[in-house]
Symmetry: C2
Subunit: 359 residues, 2 copies
DNA sequence: CTGTTAGCGCCTTCAA
DNA sequence: TTGAAGGCGCTAACAG
C-alpha cells in the first residue's frame, strides 16, 4: 500500500506538502497540488486514517454509545434506526464512527470516557443511557462534546446538545384525540419516571386533560418502565378493579403488553377499550388491531445528532437543541366511546359487550 | 490522559516493559508486572488503541461490510442482528470493529479494500454483498481474510470462510411439510437466481418433490429477488392463470408480498392457499395469519462470523465453513389440503370456497 | 528480565 | 510556497 512518502517521492515534493494538499491547505501552488493528486491516483493512495488520527490535533471521529440493544425487546429496533442515522450523518462529513454497544446484562461495564480517550474520539452521541449512570456522570466531568438522543439535560458550562422530538405536543395530541372521542375513563401507562421523554409526555397528557377541564388521577397512572412485560402485568392488575375505556401508553412496546392483558381479560380493542402507543415500531402496523400511535423518525434523529455533534466539535459552541418532526398515526386501536360505556362505573369485571369476544 | 510514558516513569521502568506487561509477554518479573499494573490503575491508564493499531504488526481490528441496510425494506432487520452478533464476537476477543454500511442508492461506492487498508483492518466480514460486485472481486485479489455470511464460495488459494445455516435441509423440510399436508399444486417464489442461499433452498425443494415422486415444473417457479414488491407483482400475475394451493417463499419478505397478492385476489390463507416463508422476521409472528417459516439465528451467525474470522487471522488457516442451527417454525399459514382443492384444475379465477371471503 | 532504538504513517510547527 | 524535524503513543527487534 502506498504511503504518503511514496507519493511525495514520486511527485518530487516533501511529505508535508502532500499532507497539506490532502488536507486542503491553501498555501500550495495549484500546479504541485495537481501533480500530487495525479500521482496519488496513479499510486492508488489514500491517507491512512489510523495514522492521521494519531498525529492530528483535529478530532475526526465520533462515537455512538447505545444501551439496551442487547437486553431489550427485539421488537424494538429504535437503536438500529438511530445507528443508521448517525452513520449517515458521520459519513456525510467524512467523520469516522466508533460504536459502543452496552450490554446491561454484563457486569463488566466500561467507562465511556475511557472508550473515547482510547480511540481519540472527539465527540460522543448517547442513546438510551441513564443519566444516573456513574459513567455518564464521569463523562459529564470531561470536556468531550456530547449529544444526547431524547434527553434534554440542564447541565451547564459544558458542550452538550440534544436531539429529540416534540414529545409534549404529540402526547397532548394523543390525549386530546381520546378525549375528543368521548373517552373519560382513561388510564395512562407511563414509562420510567425520571426520564426526559416520560416527563414531557406526561405534561402533554395533563395539559390535554386540563383543556377539557379534567384532571388526571394518580391512581390511573402506571409506570411501565417502557417495558412490554411490565406494562402487561400492571394492566392485568389494574383491570382487576377498574375498567377504563382507553389506555394511553408512552411506548408501543408497552402498548403491546397492554393489548395482551386487555385481550386476556376478554375485552375487545377498540370496541371495549381504545389503546394508543408512542414510537411507531415496525410491528405496530401489524398488531390486531393496528396501533394508533406517534411515529418518531429515529433515523433522522440519529442523523441530526451526528450533524449537531460535528458542528459543536468544529465551532466549540454549546447547548443546542434540535427537534425532529414526529407524526400522529391514526390507525385502528381507537374508537369513539359511546355514552353507555362512558357512564358505566368502573367495575370489577367485563362489560356486557365483551363477554362473547374472548380471544 | 496518562500515556505509556507516564506509567513507565512512575513505575521506574522503560516504556517497552510497560508495553510488554500490557500485552502479556511472559518475560517480565512478577514484581515489576504487578508494580506496573498498580501504577496504571493509579494513573487510570489504558493503552491508546489508535497508537497501538498503528505501531503493531498484529491486526486487532475487523471490519463488517454490510449492504442493503439503507435501501432495503425496513421490515428486514437481519443486518442489525448480524451486526449485533459480530459486535459481540469481536468484543469477546477484544477486537475492534469497524463498520461499513453500503448505501446502494448512492453512486459513490468505495473500495472495500481501500476501506480495510485505510483503517488497518486485518479481516473482514461480508454481509449481503453481491459476489459479482467489482469491489468484491478486487477484495478477493488481496490477502485480507474474509468471512461471508450466507455465501459459500468456491474461491481457492485464499483465506476465506463462510457462516450459514442448513438452507438445503430447512428448505426440504418446508416442502415436505406442504407435501405431507397433501398439497400438490405448489408454486415456488424463489429469490435471486445466482445466489448461494437461493440455490441451496432450491435444491432442498426439488429433493423433497423427488422423494414424493414429483417434479417441480419451471413454470411454477418465480424469482422474486428476495423483495416484497417483486414477489407481490409476480404472484398477482401468476394468479391470473393459475391457482396453486400453496406458495413456498424463499424469504419472509417475499411471503408478505405473496400474502398481499393472495388476499387481494379474494383467497383466504390458509383455507384456500397455504404459504411458507424463510428467515422468521420480527413481523412474521404478527401477520394474518402468522407465518409458517424457518427461523434463522442471524445474531449467532454474526457472532460465529467474527469468531471464525479471528481464528483465521490468528492461525492463518483457510477455508472454514460454520453452520448455525435454524428451526422450522410451524405457525398458521399452512393447512391440510383437501381432496377437492387438490383435484381442482388450475383455473382462471377463484375457487368456489373463497368467493365470500374477500378481505 | 530490562532498556535502547527505531519505526508505524501522518500532521504540524518553524525556517527558509 | 516548500522542506526539515519532531512528535502522536505504542510496538518490536536487538542488545545487554
Amino acid at each position: 500500500m502506498a504511503t504518503i512518502k511514496d507519493v511525495a517521492k514520486r511527485a518530487g515534493v516533501s511529505n508535508s506538502v502532500v499532507s497539506r494538499a490532502f488536507n486542503n491547505y491553501p498555501d500550495i501552488s495549484e500546479k504541485t497540488r495537481q501533480k500530487i493528486f495525479d500521482v496519488a491516483k496513479e499510486l492508488n493512495y489514500t491517507p491512512n486514517i489510523v495514522a492521521k488520527n494519531l498525529s492530528s490535533k483535529k478530532q475526526k471521529t465520533i462515537g455512538l454509545i447505545a444501551s439496551g440493544i442487547f437486553t431489550e425487546n427485539t421488537k424494538d429496533t429504535i437503536s438500529f434506526e438511530v445507528l443508521k442515522g448517525v452513520y449517515t450523518g458521520a459519513q456525510e462529513k467524512e467523520y469516522e464512527l466508533s460504536i459502543f454497544l452496552i450490554d446491561s446484562l454484563k457486569q463488566e461495564q466500561k467507562s465511556y470516557t475511557q472508550f473515547c480517550r482510547d480511540r481519540k474520539i472527539g465527540g460522543i452521541i448517547l442513546q438510551g443511557i441513564r443519566t444516573d449512570d456513574r459513567y455518564f456522570k464521569e463523562l459529564m466531568n470531561t470536556d468531550i462534546p456530547c449529544v444526547m438522543v431524547d434527553v434534554v439535560s440542564d447541565i451547564e458550562n459544558r458542550l452538550i446538545g440534544s436531539v429529540t422530538s416534540d414529545n409534549y405536543g404529540a402526547s397532548k395530541k394523543v390525549a386530546k384525540h381520546l378525549l375528543e372521542h368521548n373517552h373519560r375513563k382513561i388510564a395512562v401507562v407511563a414509562g420510567t419516571r425520571e426520564t426526559y421523554v416520560n416527563s414531557e409526555r406526561f405534561k402533554g397528557t395533563k395539559k390535554a386533560f386540563e383543556e377539557f377541564g379534567l384532571e388526571l388521577s394518580d391512581e390511573d397512572v402506571m409506570y411501565g418502565e417502557f417495558a412490554e412485560e411490565k406494562a402487561y402485568y400492571l394492566t392485568k392488575t389494574y383491570l382487576e378493579y377498574k375498567q377504563p375505556t382507553a389506555f394511553i401508553c408512552y411506548s408501543d412496546l408497552m402498548a403491546y403488553g397492554v393489548m395482551r392483558a386487555v385481550k386476556e381479560k376478554g375485552l375487545r380493542i377498540p370496541e371495549d377499550v381504545s389503546i394508543t402507543g408512542f414510537d411507531d415500531l415496525l410491528i405496530s402496523n401489524f398488531t390486531q388491531p393496528r396501533l394508533t400511535t406517534v411515529r418518531q423518525d429515529f433515523f433522522e434523529m440519529g442523523k441530526q445528532s451526528a450533524l449537531l455533534l460535528q458542528q459543536m466539535m468544529e465551532s466549540k459552541e454549546g447547548k443546542k437543541l434540535v427537534y425532529v418532526e414526529n407524526e400522529f398515526m391514526e390507525r385502528d386501536s381507537v374508537r369513539y366511546c359511546n355514552e353507555k360505556q362512558r357512564k358505566d362505573e368502573y367495575s370489577n369485571g367485563q362489560t356486557e359487550y365483551s363477554n362473547d369476544y374472548i380471544t
